[in-house]
């Protein structure tokens, strides 16, 4: 780490890269080869690294930026006019999803921008490891172009520093929810600065009861594992983590499905052994606090298991208790999956779906999109990052489309 740098009396640490170099770098086209080959090399480095093998989040990131996936993502874009990065992207990643900063950086790079990332801490072990590996690849001489497009700075809650970068930035990528977004919006920016702002969102899953009832044991187990990944990663604390489970089917069928599904989820959760005593304790404490604070909850099942299931009197109020975490799921039933729209609004980000045929799925997706949802994905992939996120096509938002007249 370089020592503290004082620029116009501002105090921050350059953890990686140089601000000056980034300010002088020229924007690239999306998916430009220098970026693609840097990310390919980064992916390989992460996957080969001895320490990173013990960090599943880092391995997922490394796998995500492998060449084949980059090519696949690039293949979705056809530009019929010249398109270039907006210039300087200023990122404000959240601190409590440790590797979010890395995904944010990749979006900035793939769209051809120079990047300044604000970290309030680089203490998390995955973060310091990721930065070390990024540095090691950037240091290679064939990645000189990309080296000048990346600078990671660390500073506390210093509005002067944030304002300085906000004025310079062509685009700001603000994570961290409503409070952070509104705070950053209160700071002056350049007149043409564009914000990509990720507000507080919440998510849900829709499960076809008939599918659960008909599935064989091994299929049930796979489904339970998929649900576990969505419902328990990051202690159910991510925007994409499902808080509400909506069962589709008639009363008997739903009751049967619950009786099969939840024991299977519990078995997976306990077998994985990732739930710590403090998670269960926090789950119980937050549940008790919520029971005192609201009269919405009518029943709670499963507090003596790895998943608590909550019933509420008026299921359209499910978002009022959506702050419950650590394996707490509100449950609702719909007879027809299309009825899901009455549970949705534009605070809902991701709808995970399980057990529907493709025709039904397109009807659900249409209904969900109208209801405000930005993502409809199979259960098990709710937390998988994509270049289209939270309703933004990040490549298109972080680039400038140039219209070229034919003179005709």
């Amino acid at each position: 780490m370089t020592p503290s740098r004082h620029e116009n009396e501002l105090e921050f640490d350059e953890v990686s890269g140089s601000v000056t170099a980034v300010l002088e770098s020229a924007p690239l086209r999306p998916f430009a080869e220098p970026v693609m080959s840097f990310l390919t090399a980064l992916s390989t480095t992460i996957m080969k690294d001895r320490d990173s093998r013990r960090m599943p989040d880092l391995v997922s990131f490394g796998y995500w930026c492998r060449r084949a996936n980059l090519e696949r993502m690039a293949g979705r874009y056809v530009f019929d006019a010249p398109v270039v990065g907006r210039g300087l992207a200023f990122h404000i990643p959240p601190t409590n999803v440790p590797l979010n900063f890395a995904y944010s950086l990749v979006c900035g790079l793939l769209s051809g921008n120079g990047n300044i990332l604000r970290m309030s801490s680089v203490d998390a072990i995955e973060v310091s490891k990721a930065i070390a590996l990024i540095d090691s690849v950037l240091a290679q001489k064939e990645h000189k172009t990309v080296r000048d497009m990346v600078c990671i700075v660390k500073y506390g809650h210093d509005d002067e520093v944030s304002s300085y970068y906000s004025r310079l930035a062509n685009v700001r990528i603000i994570w961290g929810g409503d409070a952070t977004v509104l705070h950053m919006r209160s700071l002056p920016t350049g007149p043409r600065t564009v914000d990509v702002a990720f507000a507080d969102r919440t998510s849900l899953a829709l499960i076809n009861a008939a599918h659960v009832n008909q599935s064989a044991e091994d299929e049930l187990r796979t489904d339970a594992e998929r649900f576990y990944v969505d419902g328990y990663t990051f202690s159910q604390n991510a925007c994409s983590s499902p808080r509400l489970v909506v069962w589709s089917g008639d009363e008997t069928s739903v009751a049967d499905a619950k009786a099969r599904f939840w024991p299977a989820v519990n078995a997976v959760a306990l077998k994985r052994g990732e739930i710590e005593p403090i998670h269960s304790m926090n789950r119980l404490v937050e549940l008790c606090q919520t029971l005192v604070a609201t009269n919405a909850i009518t029943d709670v099942h499963g507090i003596q298991s790895a998943s608590a299931r909550v019933s509420i009197s008026d299921v359209t109020r499910w978002q009022e208790i959506a702050s419950l975490r650590f394996g707490t799921f509100t449950e609702a039933t719909v007879r027809d999956p299309k009825e899901i729209d009455r549970l949705l609004d534009n605070k809902v980000q991701t709808l995970g779906v399980m057990g529907f045929g493709s025709d039904e799925l397109s009807r659900i997706a249409e209904s969900a999109a109208r209801g405000g949802v930005d993502r409809v994905v199979p259960v098990g992939t709710a937390l998988n990052f994509d270049l289209v996120w939270d309703g933004y096509d990040l490549i298109r938002t972080l680039t400038r489309a140039v219209s070229v007249g034919t003179g005709g």
């Binding site: 409590n96 809650h157 929810g177 739930i275 304790m281 404490v285 507090i303």
Partner: protein
């Protein structure tokens, strides 16, 4: 309420170590169920919590079915079954500055019951006669009446069992060697009760004597200590090391640990000569799986639940602690006491909560 109070008082006449685990459950469960009903009627927050969580909770058929609430709630909510303004005393846990502390509201009845239970339990350990007492702490702790902290309350509560009380430290926690020696000379040879919090005994008595290269000699002393192993565990100091450090520096042969908490003052668990903590007739420990809260078999580690007949003015009669422990057995401890005996193995580990929000909170 009066009836319940009378029944609790009546129950506290029983021998503190006179029941087998099964006999106690028989005697005790009715009172515990009455406490659950009592608190559900008088404490709205409690009723809103246990209603959905334990629908059949008021008629528990065994102790393990009794509703429990997490101990942290006493830091987050004002839980009382009396009007808070009517409390004769509000006890707080001794958190460090900036930490949230538990607030426990006591009425006369509960406070009296706590004293009675403690007297019964300690009487069985120390005998009936009062011993000269050396408090291994500073008198400044109890002088500050504004904050009735757990440390002050503990010293005050246990002072009932001593006479001619002397404090081992000055207000800056420095060892008062002269006063201690004068105290020991005065009571030369007669049994002396030493009382203090485990960490204070370790840091300011044993370690301080070692640093000074000094030792004192109280072979007829009994050291009663409690307050938790959290800080000693962080220094990797075991109960055995603690005991031998006490013996080496003070000559005290009998070292008795107790397990208790401000949320259940009075019904403490006392260590026997075999090194196990024992449930008295007035309370019970239950060990649960720390993730699923299902009961675990004796011998397995889990999170500790404590059930006590004493709390009448606040809903603390059945609490899930954040301590981990192991029930060693029932009724067959080699010390001869019937009932349940157990060990505390530590606290549940705190963990970082991750998620999308709060960039600026970090």
């Amino acid at each position: 309420m009066e009836q319940l109070g009378t029944s609790v008082t009546e129950y506290l006449r029983t021998d503190p170590f006179g029941f087998t685990t099964a006999q106690k459950e028989d005697q005790f469960l009715g009172l515990i169920n009455r406490l659950t009903t009592h608190h559900a009627e008088l404490c709205t927050d409690y009723s809103r919590i246990i209603g959905p969580l334990f629908p059949a909770g008021m008629e528990a058929k065994s102790l393990s079915e009794v509703p429990f609430i997490p101990v942290r709630l006493f830091k987050l909510l004002d839980l009382a079954s009396i009007p808070v303004a009517d409390a004769v005393r509000t006890m707080t846990s001794s958190g460090t500055t900036g930490q949230q502390v538990s607030r426990i509201y006591l009425d006369k009845e509960t406070s009296t019951a706590q004293t009675r239970a403690l007297t019964q339990i300690m009487g069985s350990v120390l005998g009936k006669s009062r011993m000269p007492m050396l408090v291994v702490d500073s008198s400044a702790v109890i002088k500050d009446r504004a904050m009735f902290s757990a440390r002050g309350a503990g010293i005050r509560g246990f002072s009932m069992f001593g006479k001619d009380i002397e404090y081992a430290f000055d207000e800056n926690m420095n060892l008062r060697t002269e006063e201690i020696n004068r105290f020991l000379e005065k009571h030369d040879g007669s049994p002396v009760l030493l009382f203090g919090f485990t960490f204070m005994v370790w840091e300011h008595l044993c370690e301080e004597l070692r640093r000074r290269g000094q030792a004192i000699s109280i072979p007829s002393g009994i050291l009663l200590h409690g307050g938790g192993w959290k800080r000693l565990a962080s220094l990797n100091i075991s109960n055995d090391e603690f005991r031998s450090a006490v013996r080496d520096t003070t000559g005290v042969q009998k070292v008795v640990n107790y397990y208790g908490m401000v949320e259940q003052t009075g019904s403490i668990f006392v260590e026997c000569d075999e090194g196990y903590l024992h449930s008295s007739s007035y309370s019970e420990v239950i060990v649960r799986d720390p993730v699923t809260y299902k009961l675990v078999a004796n011998g397995s580690e889990g999170v500790i639940q404590v059930v006590s007949v004493l709390p009448m003015s606040y809903p603390g009669h059945s609490i899930l602690t954040e301590d981990m422990g192991i029930v060693a057995g029932d009724d067959d401890c080699r010390c001869g006491r019937p009932g349940r005996y157990f060990m505390i193995s530590g606290r549940i580990k705190d963990a970082e909560v991750r998620g999308c929000s709060d960039t600026f909170a970090a």
